[in-house]
């Protein structure tokens, strides 16, 4: 195929629709087949980007500003590839998971398909109104997935999530309206030189509104309040998809707007503010994770903390020397990739544990180390990445970020990053510690399928190997 880009959007749409046709709980095989093809397509696209540079695709053949363009640069290529790589083991996992736990499935498969279509479309979009539509599709599918869990907890969490995501996309759309009103175009390529030339006050307000909207969706402190119940309350495969990928989508948009179209609007104060919020997220998320009593809530709060790391890159890339900025940007993207792999693995491992012992209580995990050694090992490996310890991808990410911070003489952020890593180690250890205790009387470990254990392990080992093969990822990222 000459252009894999549109097919990355069409394929999930098609298999999700077919899965819906087949009814509740059906379509797992379609998903695995579809994602396998998507993975090949994403790899193909990444290959094209790496060899020929960024690619543009005119939808409808009209071209911007009249039509909509798709645009795939290195960053988009990394995220597309990451999404399919994380999602494929997760759908394999989900098939095994829902085989044991069928009443939670509902319309999991079609919703997952639409979710992936929305993500792929979002990564590829180069038109701010189109981005808004993909954001809404992403938000509603994610809410649907959380709500499908049933019960007052998940439904309440889903509704809160829905309202937040609507508020976020509302702010984003108002920003779009202001930008369109100012320049008369929504294409990022067309807008970039226009904003560079002249930006009236309305565009600053628009950028602020869009940023706040995306922060809400990314769950950056203090907008994180909706995330732990939504991610912690959903079935494990859903939690994994949401925590690993969905929050990254809105972060990707922030990064993309910040680096390109809105770059002239960026101020050091805003960058430092984002950094401070990121710091608060790291500290607050980690401390809350340490205090949780339920395993999945701990992991969800860990996402709050890890999202904070992503935002530390803004003070490092704004008004600093180019070497430090490049290093920090690479570190941020590595953190994104490593966290996606690790968090998917971690939620999957937690799901396996919960399926096996039938409860979610951190203080009652005794015996997991002997009955589910591979799953616990998976959890620990994922924990390595979160704590940024070698040889994981998280370590490389932290190394790059710290290099960026020290290179731009912002030593405060170094302290934050390093202490954040220790806090992550603390909450991962809390789980390991309990799991090494002997089996509590009366606990029954029901057998779980090997697919559950191995698919999670695959994800965790990828997050680990990333530490040794990061040059490939960074090479793709650098392709302009």
């Amino acid at each position: 195929m000459r252009d894999p880009a549109p097919w990355l959007i069409l394929f999930p749409l098609i298999w999700a629709s077919l899965a819906f046709l087949r009814g509740q709980g059906r379509g797992g095989r379609l998903a695995v087949a579809g994602l396998t093809i998507q993975l090949v397509l994403a790899a193909l696209l990444a290959e094209q980007i790496a060899s020929d540079g960024a690619r543009s695709y005119t939808v409808g053949g009209w071209g911007a500003p009249l039509g909509i363009d798709l645009y795939a640069d290195g960053l988009a290529g990394v995220l597309l590839l990451l999404t399919q790589i994380v999602a494929l083991p997760l759908v394999v996992y989900a098939r095994a998971y829902f085989a044991i736990h069928p009443d939670g499935i509902s319309y999991f498969w079609p919703l997952t398909g639409y979710l992936l279509a929305a993500m792929n479309a979002l990564f590829l979009s180069a038109d701010i109104f189109n981005i808004y539509v993909t954001l809404e599709l992403l938000g509603l599918t994610a809410v649907g997935l959380v709500a499908a869990g049933g019960g007052a907890g998940p439904v309440g969490a889903a509704l809160r999530y829905l309202l937040v995501t609507l508020l976020g996309s509302g702010a984003f759309l108002l920003g779009v309206a202001l930008v369109y009103g100012t320049y008369g175009s929504m294409s990022l390529q067309v807008l970039t030189p226009l904003i560079n030339a002249d930006a009236p006050a309305a565009v600053f307000i628009a950028a602020g509104l869009m940023l706040v909207g995306l922060l809400l969706k990314t769950a950056l402190f203090p907008f994180h309040f909706w995330l732990p119940p939504a991610h912690g309350g959903a079935p494990a495969p859903v939690s994994a998809l949401l925590s690993a990928l969905v929050v990254k989508a809105s972060f990707y948009l922030i990064l993309r707007l910040w680096l390109h179209a809105f770059a002239p609007l960026v101020t050091t104060v805003a960058a430092q503010l984002l950094g401070f919020l990121g710091m608060a997220a790291i500290l607050w998320g980690s401390v809350m994770a340490i205090r949780q009593t339920r395993l999945k809530m701990l992991i969800a709060y860990s996402t709050v903390a890890q999202v904070g790391y992503l935002f530390l890159l803004f003070p490092l890339i704004t008004d600093t020397n180019p070497a430090a900025a490049a290093s920090a940007l690479q570190g941020g993207v590595m953190q994104l990739v490593a966290h996606a792999l690790a968090k998917a693995a971690m939620f999957a491992a937690a799901g396996t544990i919960i399926l096996s012992i039938g409860r979610d209580d951190i203080t009652r995990l005794g015996g997991v180390s002997t009955r589910l050694p591979l799953t616990l090992f998976t959890f620990a490996l994922a924990g390595l990445t979160l704590a940024g310890l070698p040889p994981s991808g998280g370590f490389i990410a932290k190394w790059l970020l710290i290099t960026g911070a020290s290179g731009s003489d912002q030593w405060g952020w170094v302290v934050v990053m390093i202490s954040g890593g220790l806090l992550s180690a603390a909450y991962v250890c809390r789980v390991l510690r309990q799991a090494f205790l002997s089996i509590e009387a009366g606990t029954k470990f029901s057998p779980v399928s090997r697919v559950l254990e191995w698919s999670a392990f695959l994800l965790a080992s990828m997050s680990l190997l990333l530490g040794l093969r990061s040059t490939e990822v960074l090479g793709l990222l650098e392709s302009e």
């Binding site: 180390s369 002997t370 180690a425 205790l437 040794l468």
Partner: protein
């Protein structure tokens, strides 16, 4: 990839591959697991033998892998690395054999041996690291692979010890990382080289370099158990005896001390470090550690705890040697890296034997054990004599070089510290020996697991390793002047570090 490039990698693989395979072996595959372990260890020793010869011949064994643009994992077998590698690999083989006997019939052996092999892999990585980044990489890996071994028993005490260890080691790692990144920021790349690499920096950087030195030493000092960063080591003695052997002799403490050697000699360069006035404070810290560890050891009734404090004190000898400016001190410190390992592992093997065979955990319970377990007690006595520094033991060799080094460096007080420490060592080891040999046996042993059968005082696999290391303790002294002694290698290292060639 040429053979010389792949050899360092093969060194890692010879323990990594068996380790990974062992993880997935069923608990009952005893024979296969043991075969894998021993085969890996022997293969590693063979590789080392070949490479030792090569290093003497002037071959270079370097493996490079680019992790990031401008950042490489470098594995390089130089003289200092080979010294540590040989020690670790030889002791690994003995410890494996010992552990096979020690853990017989206990649960989760696959997990244990899997992490055990990972741990050795990390140690080999630490030893072969050719730059500071690689060193840090494996240094943290070592922390992580040791944790499951410490908590192996799954008791509350073991898990608490594990968490204390992890808290200390990870915090140390974080401090170390700060220093490493800082130094990379200044230099771009910090590859180990004889004579150091930072000396070229202008005087305006000297302030920063001092702070970085402090960060690096503090980070490494946690594992090397320098006072006041030693708190984890006595706690960790709840781990099984083979793990204690690993912690105290083969891997963890050694990695910290080894790192300090690398930083002082091959990052800063000993002359530059001296010119920055960094060595005297380091010597003072080492001296304080030596005395403090010995003093604390005096009051411990728990045998392994006493040995743990003894380690705190003995490892600081290495640091002291490093801090004594001049080749003799260097030789003493570097050779003690090996000697302390051999002697301390003997003692821990023996302590494990007493515990496994008779249920003895305390010094006060050991009365008369010499007659019940003569071979173990002979080995223990040799180890203890070595620690005190009596002639014809490895400890004597290192101590004499250290004392001369102190004089040469003009730090006579360090000589007094060594003498005092020797006395203190005698004070806490001789009473044990007295109880062993001269007190009468009690009515019943605390908990006799293994009954004596004829002349076999305990399981053979438990007995052979300490006897071998005890013999090595004596051999290292008797054959100190031959070409294959640790001392010979330490001299090669010192020659290169002081660029005397």
């Amino acid at each position: 990839m040429t053979l010389n490039e792949s050899l360092p990698l093969l060194m890692l693989a010879s323990s990594l591959v068996p380790g990974v395979v062992i993880f997935f072996l069923a608990e009952t595959r005893f024979a296969l697991r043991t075969t894998l372990n021993v085969a890996g260890a022997i293969l590693k020793l063979l590789l080392i033998g070949y490479m030792l010869w090569g290093v003497v011949e002037g071959q270079s064994y370097v493996f490079r892998h680019t992790v990031l643009p401008g950042l490489e994992l470098v594995l390089e077998a130089d003289a200092l690395a080979m010294l540590f590698v040989t020690l670790s690999a030889a002791l690994w083989l003995l410890t494996t054999l010992y552990a096979v006997g020690y853990l017989e019939r206990s649960p989760h052996r696959s997990r244990f041996f899997g992490f055990f092999s990972l741990c050795v892999t990390a140690t080999i990585g630490v030893a072969l690291a050719g730059n500071l980044f690689t060193f840090f990489f494996f240094y943290e890996l070592l922390t992580l692979s040791t944790y499951p071994l410490i908590v192996h028993r799954g008791t509350e005490a073991a898990i608490r010890a594990g968490n204390i260890y992890l808290a200390y080691a990870l915090t140390g790692g974080a401090v170390l990382l700060t220093g490493v990144v800082w130094l990379y920021g200044l230099l771009g790349e910090v590859e180990f080289a004889y004579g150091g690499v930072v000396a070229a920096m202008g005087p305006e950087y000297h302030g920063q370099l001092r702070i970085i030195f402090l960060l690096l030493i503090a980070g490494l000092g946690v594992k090397a158990a320098l006072v006041p960063l030693h708190g984890w080591l006595p706690q960790a003695m709840v781990a099984p005896a083979p793990v204690s052997a690993l912690l105290h002799a083969v891997a963890v403490v050694k990695a910290g001390a080894f790192g300090i050697v690398r930083v002082v000699y091959e990052v800063y360069g000993v002359e530059f470090a001296q010119s920055l006035d960094l060595l005297t404070p380091l010597a003072v810290v080492a001296a304080v550690t030596i005395i403090w560890g010995s003093l604390r050891a005096l009051w411990q009734d728990d045998l392994k705890r006493r040995l743990a404090y003894s380690t705190v004190s003995q490892v600081a000898y290495i640091i002291l040697g490093v801090a004594l400016f001049g080749p003799l001190g260097t030789i003493g410190g570097v050779v003690h890296l090996v000697h302390q390992g051999i002697m301390k592992i003997t003692l821990f093997f023996c302590a494990g034997n007493y515990a496994e065979t008779l249920g003895i955990h305390k010094v006060t319970e050991i009365n008369g054990a010499g007659r019940r377990m003569p071979w173990t007690s002979v080995a223990f006595s040799v180890g203890a004599f070595g620690m005190i520094g009596l002639p014809l033991t490895a400890g004597y060799v290192s101590k004499s070089y250290l004392t001369q080094g102190a004089e040469m460096a003009g730090m006579a007080w360090a000589g007094w510290v060594l003498t005092a420490s020797g006395l203190l060592n005698a004070l806490y080891f001789l009473p044990i020996l007295y109880r062993l040999w001269f007190k009468s046996q009690p009515q019943a042993w605390p908990n006799e697991h293994i009954l004596a059968r004829g002349r076999k005082e305990t399981a053979l696999l438990l007995l052979i390793p300490p006897l071998v290391t005890a013999a090595a303790t004596i051999a290292a002294a008797v054959f100190a002047d031959t070409n294959w002694s640790p001392l010979f290698w330490a001299k090669i290292v010192a020659t290169k570090e002081y660029l005397l060639e």
